[in-house]
Amino acid sequence: MKPPPKHAPPRIGSTADLRSFQRMMATAIVRPLTSGDGLQSRWIDGRPMERVAAEFIKPNDRLTSFERLQLYNRMYWFRLFDAIRDDCPGLLAALGERAFSRLAQAYLERCPSRSFTLRNLSSRLERFILDEPRLTAPRTALAAEIARFEWAQTVAFDGEARPVITPAHFARTPPSRLRLGLQPYVTLLRLRYPIDTYVIAVKRRDALRSEASNTRGASAAVHRAFRRVARPRARRTLVAVHRHNNRLFYKRLEPAAFRILEALAAGRTLSRAIAEAGPGVRPDQVKAWFKVWMTLGWFCAFGNKGRRTAS
């Protein structure tokens, strides 16, 4: 968003005035809340916020201009915090409430929504975590991998599905010329931590906690019992996040299988991709992998979606 004008336009007689007015109000709304969840007391140029708000917002007999603007400021942050918590339960569990809130606020300040839908809110979170490691230290690598994994889930949930390549297509084109695309909703992840099992454990814990808190009279001890899921220890993990019959799945892959898929996604021909599996891989293994991948509908025409591997 471009910088707001020094003062809100006193009269809105043109589209340019309307844009200035909207920059002024939007700038006020997206500024971070104070520690007490209030509107900041000073405007970006240091003037008292009461005075700035009164320049363009009318007070009424119950609320000052400042208080009316504060309602919108709070609703903005509460809405976006809720959205990012819903999208990132694994990251929240790994970092804890306080560090996650600090990260979310910094991220939303730097990367406000540029999409008409909140679905895309966390699309830049992994990049931000890597760019600002101090916010997640000493768990930056873990945090970045969880953010990548949770974004892959969003893509798998409602990403595009292209027409599936048929066995006839395979038969028509020699392997030395055949290029296969991976469905846009499939993301290959080369991870340093077993994020898949961690996220499953967090989801189970959250579901149980929700059940417990719906039970009248559930004790604090019950809630404490659901508090922690142990953070994963480093273990190299290769996984595809995908969907089948519109349900979300995580599929662990053997290193050779992962290399084949990675090579196909990068645009290698089928014969080149299989060669990249390495010398120790038997043809019957490769055949079995392809049978499963075909059954899952992972292959489509090689297109312009770019690499689908994240490492």
Binding site: G13, A26, V30, Y76, S113, F116
Partner: protein, 282 residues
Amino acid sequence: MPANRFNGHSDYGIGIGLRVPHYAHILSKKPVVDWFEIISENFMVEGGRPLELLDRILEQYRVVQHGVSMYFGSADRPDRTHLRRLKALVKRTKTPWLSDHLCWGSVDGTYTHDLLPMPYTFAAARRTAEKIRQIRDYLEIPICVENVSSYAEFHASEMTEWEFLTEVVELADCGILLDVNNIYVSSKNHGFNPYDYVNNVPHHRVGQMHIAGHTKFEKYILDTHDHPVLDPVWKLYAHATRLCGITATLLEWDDKIPSFDEVHGEALKANEFIDGAKRAAV
């Protein structure tokens, strides 16, 4: 006025919002419902479960699209990608009309995801109407604009909210989605008479109405959609129905959502007021 050009000459009755907690009930029990309103943005995706679910609903029910991010009142130009996706969804649902809010919420491509009130000025009305016309021409279906609930008013305003709404819909030649709960909420927050609002909008342009619950706080009312409809809102709805005619009506219940039957039962209470309007008309 059961049908007019602003709702595609459709004759829809009382609908409810299609919400996730009710999916299983609707798909398994197939309850009789006049129509469902969907939030367009929830289905403007490229694949997966949302579209599968929508297609199953469309096999059984009539669906009307309601948007939350077109931002007719933003100074920004309409987003082409957004419009392309919206048009694809319009073709899928065959919605007879499409609604979104008379508000703004984005500037320079940054989105607040809120329905922010407009400054009620003639220049803002002209710009908003121009955008509505562009969007309607692209989508090729009637558009109804909905009045929002608000918590702030601006010094720059040159007219009342209902005068602004009238100015916009006359310039755009579009319909109105009259949200009587929003009128009530704003009337309490800004100290105007909600009946003045309802009396002074162009009734022949009302293509749909919304009813909903709200929450009272000490100094203001919030449009929370998490309660049954309150009595003053029902009274205002009855009054609007007498003036506008029997109009497609939708109950919004978006938070603390109870069972399907409870939500639908609450919506069907509107029949009582519709029958009253019919009797008054005889």
